[in-house]
């Protein structure tokens, strides 16, 4: 009889929180179940509490890899973008989250790793490593990356400068980039407030773009970042909040 080969998970000898910290995480049916349940509850709450509305839903319909780029005013943004995706794609959708903010304290880690399936993104040091991790993920068709290229939540509700890293990620890469604008999230849950407020939130999804023909040097990266910022800003509804 031939010997059986057990293909153990890489994380069997790690404590539960360390397991959530590492990335890519091992598939786990229990966590998938919790995440799906959480997503249903969050969707319900968004609809009731924030009268959540999606415009341009069809722009997200693809079986290939997709990068979603959006403005960032509050934690609601991530939840809105996830709520725009079908449930079966939830476990392949990775919002890039600051590893220094979301992957240190345990309650935030639970929310980030279990509920939103976040990807730990090093925004101070080792940005390059994080970007190459993102690129590896995108090489797998069907991956969805959610990125807020401002790098932090806006404190004014305006769209800040986009970091050039987003350009470095998508330049010369055959992947669709969908610009999105989340309207009203700044009023609903601004940075520094403990609880969200019942304000209307609307998500506008723009037409996907592709930057496969672009060069890969710093000037191109900055140009792509600026273009994407323009595209996101253009989606701001004329009669929107502000």
């Amino acid at each position: 009889m031939k010997k059986w080969l057990y293909d153990s998970a890489r994380d069997v000898d790690q404590a539960a929180t360390d397991r959530l910290r590492q990335f890519p995480r091992e598939p786990d049916m229990v966590i998938y179940g919790l995440r799906s349940l959480g997503a249903l509850i969050i969707r319900g709450l968004l609809h009731i509490y924030n009268h959540f509305e999606i415009v341009g839903h069809q722009n997200l319909r693809t079986n290939r890899s997709l990068v979603i780029v959006a403005n960032h005013c509050s934690h609601i943004d991530t939840l809105c973008l996830l709520a725009a995706l079908p449930l079966r794609k939830l476990h392949r959708a990775f919002p890039a989250a600051a590893s220094d903010y979301f992957f240190q304290s345990v309650p935030r880690l639970w929310a980030a790793a279990i509920l939103v399936n976040a990807l730990p993104f090093a925004r101070q040091a080792r940005v390059r490593e994080s970007l190459s991790l993102c690129r590896q993920l995108l090489a797998n068709p069907g991956t969805i990356l959610i990125i807020f290229p401002e790098g932090t939540r806006s404190t004014t509700g305006e769209v800040g400068e986009f970091k050039s890293g987003i350009g470095a990620l998508v330049a010369g890469c055959d992947v669709a980039v969908a610009p999105c604008f989340v309207d009203g999230s700044f009023q609903a849950w601004p940075k520094g407030k403990r609880f969200p407020r019942p304000r209307k939130v609307r998500l506008v999804v723009g037409r996907p773009r592709n930057y496969r023909d672009r060069g890969t040097d710093k000037i191109d990266f900055c140009a792509i970042a600026a273009e994407l910022r323009g595209a996101v800003n253009e989606l701001r509804p004329a009669n929107g909040s502000r």
């Binding site: 059986w4 080969l5 057990y6 293909d7 153990s8 998970a9 994380d11 069997v12 000898d13 790690q14 404590a15 539960a16 091992e26 598939p27 786990d28 049916m29 229990v30």
Partner: protein, 317 residues
């Protein structure tokens, strides 16, 4: 079983004080070893803190009543199977793991609902509970057929079957005992006795251990530890006779044998699995104990044997 009855139940209250006293004595002994004799006890202390946590959670769940006990046992079984699946590599097959989770949840549901032909409400559907493997194993076997696959499937089927029967169904007996008339006595006794027997095996082994019990499986277990634990397990039913009220001497001896021998065999059975897979612990969920499966391994073995032994002599209701 409900919060009101548990407050007034003499057995439940007695166990609360017994466990509190045992943990206090253990703490005093450990403190003496550490601070007076200056022994290296850091790892034992970690295990000890986890015991306190386990006892606390266990008491709260049993106190809350029948439904929380059954749900709690089901959740523990789910977590334990999750560890087993991750360690054995079965987790890469979401269909198989999904089928086993469905089976474990079914075990929980059959313990909760009542027998449509039964006289009493809220006492679990014993017939279906015992028959769950007859439905879960065909479900597991159905998966490769539906997916039209054969290569490597025997290994997955075997892992899924042992995962379901051993961790899901056999451990599920602990939850089903919440339906017994003497639920507090059975559940408290079986958890306390297996826990104490484990500790006794460890302690006797540490103090007198010379001869390896099963060198190929678990090098740290010794004959001295095993015999000491068996002695403790044989004495316990007589000391805690109040929680097994209808038991005669013969049943008390059987209880001692089941806990004393079964508990250690359960420990060794999981060790065989771990040894073949090549991990030391199934996971690192409980500090100082390893995974959840490492903690419940004896209980998995003991609970069904005890329940069916009892059921043979006295009906559960």
């Amino acid at each position: 079983m409900s919060p009101q009855t548990s407050l007034h139940d003499p057995v439940f209250r007695a166990y609360f004080w017994i466990v509190l006293t045992s943990l206090t004595i253990a703490g005093v002994v450990l403190g003496f070893l550490r601070f007076v004799l200056k022994k290296e006890t850091a790892s034992v202390f970690k295990t000890y803190w986890s015991w306190i946590l386990i006892a606390g959670i266990g008491f709260v769940v049993v106190f809350l009543g029948r439904i929380p006990t059954i749900v709690g046992v089901t959740l523990i079984a789910i977590c334990a199977f999750k560890e087993f699946a991750h360690a054995s590599g079965l987790y890469r097959d979401p269909w198989m793991t999904g089928a086993v989770y469905a089976g474990i949840i079914t075990v929980g549901i059959t313990s909760l609902i009542s027998d449509p032909l039964g006289a009493e409400h809220g006492t679990g559907w014993y017939g279906l509970f015992v028959a769950v493997p007859a439905f879960a194993i065909p479900l597991i076997l159905l998966i490769p057929i539906l997916r039209n696959r054969a290569r490597g499937e025997l290994q997955r089927i075997s892992l899924a079957v042992i995962g379901f029967v051993y961790i899901g169904w056999m451990f599920g007996h602990l939850g089903f005992m919440a339906n017994a008339r003497n639920a507090y006595g059975f559940i408290c006794y079986i958890i306390f006795a297996t826990g104490l027997t484990d500790v006794a095996a460890f302690t006797f082994g540490k103090i007198f251990g010379r001869h390896s019990l099963r060198s190929e499986i678990s090098p740290n277990k010794t004959w001295e530890g095993a015999l000491g634990a068996l002695a403790v397990a044989m004495i316990l039913p007589w000391l805690l006779r109040f929680s097994l009220p209808s038991f005669g001497p013969w049943q008390l001896i059987l209880t001692g044998l089941i806990v004393g021998i079964g508990g250690q065999l359960g420990d060794l059975s999981v060790s065989v699995i771990k040894r073949d897979i090549g991990t030391k612990d199934m996971a690192a969920t409980i500090p100082g104990h390893g995974g959840i499966l490492d903690r419940i391994d004896s209980l998995v073995y003991v609970a069904p044997l005890f329940m069916h032994m009892t059921g043979y002599y006295y009906p559960l209701r």
